[in-house]
């Protein structure tokens, strides 16, 4: 028996250990470390020149918001996109986008192409904020309460069922205050940036 013949089984054992470890950490579950903690401080440049960017101050504007992380190269993002369009039509709360590890042109084209559900889109080109937020993969959706505290996180595409059973209750719990009287977040609905 030579060491070369043992190599495949050694690699495989390492792989099995890795996969077993991965099983105990369900990526679909939230990163519990960040739940009920304030979102990191950040200030992202705007996807559209002249349009609103996204900063942590927008998340502390006194009313809950949805933050969605997306990229043009991500298929599930396309799959969940119609849900975001519906969501943004139906809610009077802001829906923010973070364009993750993408080029500006591709990100703009994605939204021009499919429609822009976001009230503001920040660009996280190098994925820096993604690391602070604990973004595992795109798409990801967060519910942040009016004080900038993350209350809910979902990794993977949104589905109608998930919106009804998890996202909406999380929004309710995040203390949904009356919208119009609240302080308007930067680039509120109706600014129409992005020129669909």
């Amino acid at each position: 028996m030579s060491w070369r013949a043992l190599l495949p089984i050694a690699v495989f054992i390492a792989l099995t250990v890795l996969l077993y470890g991965a099983l105990s950490r369900n990526p679909r579950e939230l990163n519990s470390a960040l739940i009920d903690k304030p979102a990191p401080t950040f200030d992202l440049p705007a996807l559209y020149e002249g349009g609103p960017g996204l900063s942590s101050d927008d998340l502390r504007a006194g009313r809950p918001a949805i933050v969605n992380v997306f990229a043009s190269w991500c298929t599930p993002c396309r799959a969940e996109h119609p849900q975001l369009m519906t969501l943004s039509d139906r809610l009077d709360l802001p829906v923010y986008g973070i364009n993750y590890k993408d080029t500006q042109a591709a990100g703009q084209r994605f939204l021009d192409d499919l429609g822009n559900p976001y009230d503001a889109v920040g660009v996280d080109a190098d994925g820096r904020l993604g690391i602070d937020l604990g973004v595992y993969g795109v798409p990801e959706t967060y519910v942040v309460d009016g004080q900038g505290v993350i209350r809910f996180k979902h990794a993977g595409p949104l589905t109608p069922r998930l919106i009804e059973t998890e996202l909406m209750p999380a929004l309710e719990a995040a203390g949904r205050v009356a919208g119009p009287q609240g302080e308007a977040p930067a680039g509120g609905q109706g600014d129409g940036q992005g020129g669909n």
């Binding site: 043992l6 099995t16 996969l19 099983l23 369900n26 990526p27």
Partner: protein, 667 residues
């Protein structure tokens, strides 16, 4: 037939599998013919019972039996029949049952058609195959029972994701599984041979047709999946390096390597240990794909609803199956001494290069797919590996691989001469150089796709040269060449069409990447939009309705100059159960490219639309088709040879004499 009958059939199949997993193995060890004889009828029996269970489930879907939980979760009375049936495998439990149908089908096929295998070897193969079947039947019975009842039965089901209601996708999983699971036979042959201790040219001749059949199905399955993505997702992309796509690509790469290394074992009795390892790894990668899709460790559009208990169960199966095989390999591999010696510059040498490239590609895809897990496990950070990584690697590996692929078939066995190969390829080299100059001067685009075009042309020309040389084109009178062409061994067509198919696919990828014209516009009635040499004229929309959806149908007339070349009617569909919208692209495939139109939301002053001219894009799938056809022709050859050992020997002598005599003048 009732769900309970299906459930019972599964238990019976489980019982039979458990018997075959043990008894024939003992029989083969003791040389007891009676114990070995158990294997065949019971292997066929396993298949019949699993097929019966599958039929029972299918029936529950067809009649919309909503007292079965699975039918409620993924079917609906309004669905057309085809999608009621494809709904059977549109979920975790049903797809696993389909997986089992194929696994036991292959075992039954070995029992029925493997008459030329030595009795003890066949008994061992069926035992190993039944061990896998036992494990997966236990998985179904204990964690994923498809026949679970739901009492009281709800009046209506929850439907199937409308994206999946498509003929392309209805047949994509069965083909893919036929490929994935078909490699289990190569695995069982490898393990049986490790127990047996006899591996040589005969072993390679047995294992190759099974591998080839599985490889063809996998090729077709992957192609169908990417074609579906191309026309159904509505933005013209066809490959996304999604973890689940990668899970199907890895066994394809390993299986392709296995097909080639088995040739070396067969012809030259060399590379045996590596080929056995490849056979084990190919199926292991299939199992790994199953694990990734069903355990939920990676985020993917394809992933099934997850349940931690299932993840642990599959991982245990994976560990037992692969771990067991690799342990056996570590113990026995040393005894597989190579007897055929060869120089690095030889056909064998080139096939080793081919295997290296394919193995490195498979390893890279594996690393890229698992890297997020590794980083998470070691550093606790969450990251994704995206398309740019995989594209870079592909572009880096392609030139060397395609260069070797063109040279290899012209190289002589044992000891080849680079000089004579270069001489044979002179017209191809000149042609490629001219095309490269033309590309540089006349074509605009990014460098990587343009390089792809040049490489594609190179492979087409080199493959043509190899065929021309086989039939002595131009060096003998035309009728002699024609006679040689007709008389070519069928496996030669496997080589020619397989390599040509890859070249065509590469041209399709490179051409569509380099030259696609894309227009994102808002159109009003009568408006025309230019896309490349074509003009799309918008003729308005009208409502349309299908069995379980309503749609808006847009109409485009496409002109080239003043000539109307196509009428396109893309749809945007709204499904009600479950509520969802899908885009149905309208595509007119022309030999030189596709006209592709998608209609979207109504906007101020018109409708949003995406219009494309995508040069060469359908070549991607045409190339895959060529590969499958090449495989099929080669397979008909094999089957006859396997059935007739004396002729096979004569063929072999002829085939190995062929390249030598061809190469002789150059030496």
């Amino acid at each position: 037939m009732s769900p309970e009958l299906g459930h019972l059939s599964l238990w019976l199949a489980f019982g039979l599998a458990a018997i075959v997993a043990v008894v024939p193995l003992i029989g083969a060890h003791r040389g007891d013919a009676r114990l070995m004889a158990v294997a065949e009828p019971l292997a066929v029996g396993q298949f019949l019972f699993v097929a019966l269970a599958f039929a029972a489930l299918t029936q529950a879907f067809i009649v919309s039996d909503f007292s079965v939980r699975l039918v409620v979760a993924s079917s609906h009375t309004d669905k057309p029949l085809l999608y009621k049936i494809s709904g059977v495998w549109g979920n975790h439990e049903g797809s696993l049952l389909l997986w089992m149908v194929i696994l036991t089908l292959f075992a039954a096929a070995v029992a029925a058609f493997g008459r030329n295998l030595p009795v003890s070897f066949r008994a061992r193969v069926l035992s190993v195959q039944s061990m896998i079947a036992t494990g997966f039947l236990a998985f179904i019975l204990f964690t994923s029972n498809p026949f679970e009842r739901l009492i009281p039965a709800p009046p209506q089901g929850q439907g199937l994701n409308p994206l999946l209601q498509d003929p392309g996708l209805a047949f994509h999983p069965p083909l893919l599984y036929l490929g994935y699971v078909g490699f289990s036979i190569a695995f069982s042959f490898a393990v049986a041979a490790l127990i047996d201790g006899r591996i040589g040219p005969t072993w390679a001749r047995w294992v190759r047709p099974w591998t080839l059949a599985a490889w063809m199905a996998l090729t077709a399955g992957i192609a169908l999946g990417s074609w579906w993505a191309y026309y159904e997702l509505g933005w013209g992309g066809w490959w996304f390096w999604d973890p689940v796509e990668n899970a199907s690509l890895m066994p394809w790469l390993a299986g392709t390597a296995l097909l080639h290394s088995a040739i070396v074992v067969e012809k030259r009795d060399a590379l045996k240990s590596w080929t056995i390892l490849l056979a084990i790894m190919t199926f292991s990668l299939s199992l790994l794909g199953t694990f990734l899709v069903r355990s939920g460790v990676l985020t993917s559009v394809h992933a099934f609803a997850t349940d931690p208990a299932r993840g642990v169960f599959i991982l245990a199966l994976l560990a037992l199956t692969v771990g067991g095989a690799l342990t056996l390999y570590a113990w026995r591999a040393a005894s597989l001494e190579a007897s055929g010696l060869y120089r690095p510059v030889s056909r064998e040498g080139m096939l080793v290069v081919n295997n290296l490239f394919l193995a490195v590609s498979a390893a890279t895809v594996l690393l890229g797919t698992l890297y997020p897990l590794i980083v998470d496990g070691l550093l606790g950070e969450k990251i994704t590996v995206a398309a740019p990584f995989f594209n870079t690697i592909t572009v880096a590996l392609a030139p060397g691989f395609l260069l070797a692929m063109a040279i290899g078939p012209l190289m002589a066995w044992k000891r080849g001469s680079l000089k004579s190969v270069v001489k044979d390829l002179r017209p191809a080299i000149v042609g490629t150089a001219l095309f490269a100059v033309f590309t540089l001067v006349a074509l605009d685009g990014e460098w990587a796709p343009l390089m792809g075009l040049v490489l594609g042309v190179w492979l087409v020309l080199a493959t043509a040269m190899e065929l021309a040389k086989r039939i002595k084109l131009f060096s003998t009178p035309p009728w002699v060449s024609l006679r040689r062409l007709v008389g070519l061994p069928k496996r030669q067509w496997g080589l020619t069409l397989g390599h040509l198919g890859l070249a065509v696919t590469i041209l399709g990828i490179a051409g569509s990447e380099a030259f696609t014209v894309e227009k994102l516009v808002t159109v009003s009635r009568g408006q025309s939009v230019e896309a490349g040499p074509y003009t799309f004229i918008f003729e308005g929309v009208n409502p349309a309705a299908g069995p379980n959806y309503t749609a808006v149908e847009g109409h485009f007339r496409v002109q080239r100059g003043r000539q109307t070349v196509a009428r396109l009617a893309p749809e945007e569909r709204t499904y009600t159960s479950p509520p969802n919208t899908t885009t149905e692209a309208a595509i007119k495939p022309l030999w030189h490219g596709d006209l592709y139109a998608v209609v979207g939301e109504p906007e101020q002053g018109g409708w949003s639309a995406r219009l494309y001219y995508k040069p060469l894009v359908s070549w991607i799938w045409a190339g895959a088709g060529l590969m499958v056809v090449g495989g099929a022709i080669s397979l008909t050859d094999r089957r006859r040879r396997v059935g007739a050992p004396t002729r096979a020997k004569a063929d072999r002598a002829d085939a190995s004499a062929g390249p030598k005599s061809v190469a002789a003048p150059a030496e």
